[in-house]
């Protein structure tokens, strides 16, 4: 009786782990063309030298962390704080990013979701709730985009500091 009671939880853990591993691989396979586009376009954009210094550091962070599963965790933790600060101080909500770097940020978002689908799914649920609150509070999606950009830039600053040390 004891052996069966020990075996079943272990079987479930192994099965769940295997299933998650398959989901991780299939998602990585699905987003690989998007990641390659992010890599190629991001590097080309950096080489062209048309970006502001702020955007350049953002794009560099996108390129270096496209496979990092921790970014989804940081996004989930930092988004509510960024939105809260933007609600208190809405300056800087104008979207100054060029169209191409904005596209890269969406590609990066998809890429980090695929790198950590479990936390990524939780982050998406959180974004939906936050977007709902922000749209009710401000009447537009601009604040959501601005908060996301602020979080990305925050991560980029940390990334550059880490790379410099």
């Amino acid at each position: 009786m004891m052996t069966t009671s020990l075996i079943w939880p272990l079987v479930w853990v192994v099965l769940c782990f295997g299933l998650y591993a398959i989901v991780l691989r299939q998602l990585a396979k699905a987003v690989q063309p998007l990641r390659l586009r992010l890599a190629e376009e991001g590097e080309a954009l950096l080489t062209e030298g048309v970006l502001s210094i702020e955007e350049e550091s953002d794009v560099r962070m996108f390129l270096d962390n496209a496979y990092d599963g921790w970014v989804a965790v940081f996004l989930m933790l930092m988004m509510p704080a960024a939105m809260f600060y933007l609600l208190i101080d809405p300056t800087g909500t104008d979207d100054r990013a060029t169209e191409r770097s904005a596209k890269l940020s969406w590609l990066f978002l998809v890429s980090v979701f695929a790198a950590n689908p479990f936390v990524g799914a939780l982050a998406i649920m959180e974004f939906v709730v936050l977007a709902f609150v922000m749209v009710i509070a401000t009447g537009s999606f601009a604040m959501l985009r601005a908060a996301l950009r602020r979080v990305f830039h925050n991560l980029a600053v940390r990334h550059e500091a880490h790379a410099a040390s």
């Binding site: 004891m2 075996i7 192994v14 295997g18 691989r25 990585a28 190629e40 080489t47």
Partner: protein
């Protein structure tokens, strides 16, 4: 499905009190089952995820290199 982990822990405590040899055998069984489970998980991770991810990563690095070289290539005909 059998009992849950709290029942297993209670059973182990009972065995430890009543029969030390059966307790030792149960602990050994637990360790072997855990080891097999862990080995399966590590193998699954290596075969299912890490192999393809390494290949994807190499493709990604190549794409970055292509992106860095793109403006240079475009300038060549000029």
């Amino acid at each position: 499905m059998g009992a849950g982990w709290p029942d297993v822990a209670l059973e182990l405590v009972r065995l430890a009190r009543e029969d030390i040899w059966r307790f030792a055998a149960a602990c050994l069984g637990l360790a072997i089952a855990g080891g097999i489970g862990l080995a399966i998980m590590v193998l699954t991770l290596k075969v299912v995820v890490l192999g393809p991810l390494t290949r994807f990563r190499i493709q990604y690095d190549e794409a970055r290199k292509r992106g860095r070289d793109r403006p240079k290539q475009e300038k060549l005909p000029l």
